[in-house]
């Protein structure tokens, strides 16, 4: 168990690196996600096939794969935004439903309503059964968490791209999702902002404990954030159309990881090779 970093160590890893006590209002009950032979075809063209894996509650799973291989498609299926897939996706102990309220999506673009203030955009994510006072308290806390308290009254076009992404993240968290689905949430940001957002995400994960499925095309981001990395793609051994689980690897070491850690170099070049890129 010591040589191979087991998944069980992950919870303690997250908890020990972040001494923050999970907050009453933002903490959520994290849920597992099971994919059972999931496939998706568009107009007879197979995009995904035979995807089977189980994401444990509280885990951060990074989904890597070349462009167009079906990462977003897989994520949308978990969020109940797409109903055309085959196989089963089970969240917690029941199958995913349309616009599943146990999940919350952080889209690749912030998708904020331009006519609403940042505060009112974050409110959009609140579950309906919440009382007004509880909702307000949660929004205040989330704005604090993503560092937008002093921008709460501004409109989306009055803030920067990184702030908009943080607002979008806060809106998703307002739902207190059991599973947080992030589709390249930092893809459009500059390198420095992206590093800060990654740290923010780790903070948030430590405070909320939610399960996170994170689509990314950035190998280093996956290595920095994830407990395990799912590599989607075609298997060399078969020639069937569509992407499937190419590999599913645990990331060694505790978070926050040293961004220059050498023990990740081996895994990094394996992942690059899996993506069809020569890392040297």
């Amino acid at each position: 168990m010591t040589s191979a970093p087991a998944l069980d160590q992950r919870h303690s890893a997250a908890a020990s690196t972040q001494p923050v006590v999970p907050s009453e209002t933002v903490a959520s009950e994290s849920l597992s996600v099971s994919f059972n032979d999931v496939g998706r075809a568009f107009d007879g063209r197979t995009v995904l096939r035979n995807v089977s894996l189980t994401v444990t509650p509280g885990e951060v799973l990074a989904i890597l794969g070349s462009s167009g291989c079906g990462k977003s498609t897989l994520l949308r299926a978990v969020g109940g935004l797409d109903e055309g897939f085959t196989g089963d996706i089970v969240i917690g102990d029941s199958a995913v439903t349309r616009y599943d309220e146990r999940t919350a999506v952080g889209f690749q673009e912030p998708r904020l309503l331009p006519w609403r203030s940042i505060r009112r955009n974050v409110e959009l994510g609140l579950p309906r059964n919440l009382s007004k006072a509880e909702g307000q308290a949660r929004v205040v806390e989330l704005l604090e968490l993503v560092g937008l308290s002093d921008r709460a009254a501004l409109r989306p076009r009055e803030i920067s791209g990184g702030m908009a992404q943080r607002a979008s993240l806060a809106r998703a968290l307002a739902r207190q999702p059991g599973v947080l689905l992030l589709d390249e949430p930092f893809g459009a940001l500059d390198a420095l902002t992206r590093l800060k957002m990654q740290d923010l995400l780790l903070d948030i994960h430590a405070q909320t404990g939610t399960t996170v499925l994170l689509v990314t095309h950035d190998v280093n981001e996956a290595l920095q954030l994830a407990d395990r990395i799912l590599l989607l793609g075609g298997r060399r051994s078969d020639t069937a159309e569509g992407a499937t689980v190419k590999s599913l690897v645990p990331v060694p070491g505790k978070r926050p990881r040293d961004r220059a850690a050498t023990d990740l170099a081996q895994l990094r070049s394996e992942l690059y090779a899996g993506l069809g890129v020569d890392s040297r």
Binding site: Y99, E109, L113
Partner: protein, 267 residues
């Protein structure tokens, strides 16, 4: 040109600092036209009064009509017709545009028909309205309403069709659907294009007012136009035109103020 170029920085600076600077700027050309008009009719005497009466004569004609009360009657009835026609046309356009813009079924069922009606130049309805409704108050208001309906319908319909699907999906993903989705995402998103449609419809209303009043009426600005033409009163004719310009511009400006208020809250 050279004199304005000599102080390039001062000119825009002053335009900003003077309150109502934009109004003054916009008034420059009308005042210039007025000056030219006065010049060619008065001092230069290029036109006979039956061709082009002097500005002063037009003003006198206005004062004359004002004194016997006819001016208020003409303006009053015309404004009333435009407001009623615009109101009914716009409401119908908003309702039908929303229905077809939001419901795929209603769109499939009704859009070809509405499209066919829109293809008919609206003035072609005049003979039918004359036969069926008569060209009394109802007929005039109906004609104006037809003129106002299509710009509003078209703008609401196409704006609802083109609401950013990303925003709608985000709304749905956060549990919004039906009426809540409509009032949270779709309606606010269409406020700016709908106001352009409303302003176009208001301009159309004035157009159709004149058409209706030219056809058959005993009062109103269109009637003043045709009556003055028959009597050779070019001064009154010009007066009616100037009044139409002022009224059209004023109503549009009022709608513009409402639009700015709405855009502040919604866009």
């Amino acid at each position: 040109m050279t004199t304005t170029l000599a102080t390039p920085a001062a000119a825009p600076g002053r335009a900003k600092s003077v309150p109502g600077g934009r109004i003054l700027l916009g008034a420059a050309v009308p005042l210039l036209i007025l000056g030219l008009w006065w010049l060619v009719t008065g001092p230069l005497d290029l036109f006979t009064p039956t061709q082009l009466p002097a500005p002063q004569r037009v003003l006198d004609a206005g004062v004359g009509l004002l004194e016997d009360g006819a001016l208020f009657a003409h303006v009053g009835i015309s404004v009333q017709r435009v407001l009623f026609g615009f109101f009914f046309g716009a409401v119908a356009g908003l309702l039908l545009g929303s229905l077809l813009g939001l419901s795929r079924l209603a769109d499939g069922l009704l859009h070809p028909t509405v499209g066919a009606f829109r293809a008919v130049p609206s003035l072609a309805w005049v003979p039918l309205i004359l036969l069926w409704v008569g060209i009394g108050e109802d007929g005039k208001v109906l004609l104006i309403a037809i003129g106002a309906f299509f710009p509003v319908f078209t703008s609401v319909h196409s704006a609802l069709r083109h609401v950013d699907p990303h925003l709608v999906e985000a709304g749905r993903a956060f549990g919004y659907h039906g009426t809540r989705l409509l009032t949270t995402v779709q309606l606010p998103a269409v406020v700016p294009p709908v106001f352009s449609g409303l302003r176009l419809a208001l301009a159309q209303s004035w157009l159709f007012l004149v058409a209706a009043e030219l056809l058959a009426s005993s009062e109103g600005l269109g009637f003043l136009l045709i009556e003055s033409q028959n009597n050779g009163r070019v001064d009154r004719l010009l007066l009616a035109i100037v009044l139409l310009a002022i009224l059209g511009k004023t109503t549009d400006a009022l709608l513009g103020i409402i639009e700015r208020k709405a855009l502040k809250t919604w866009a």
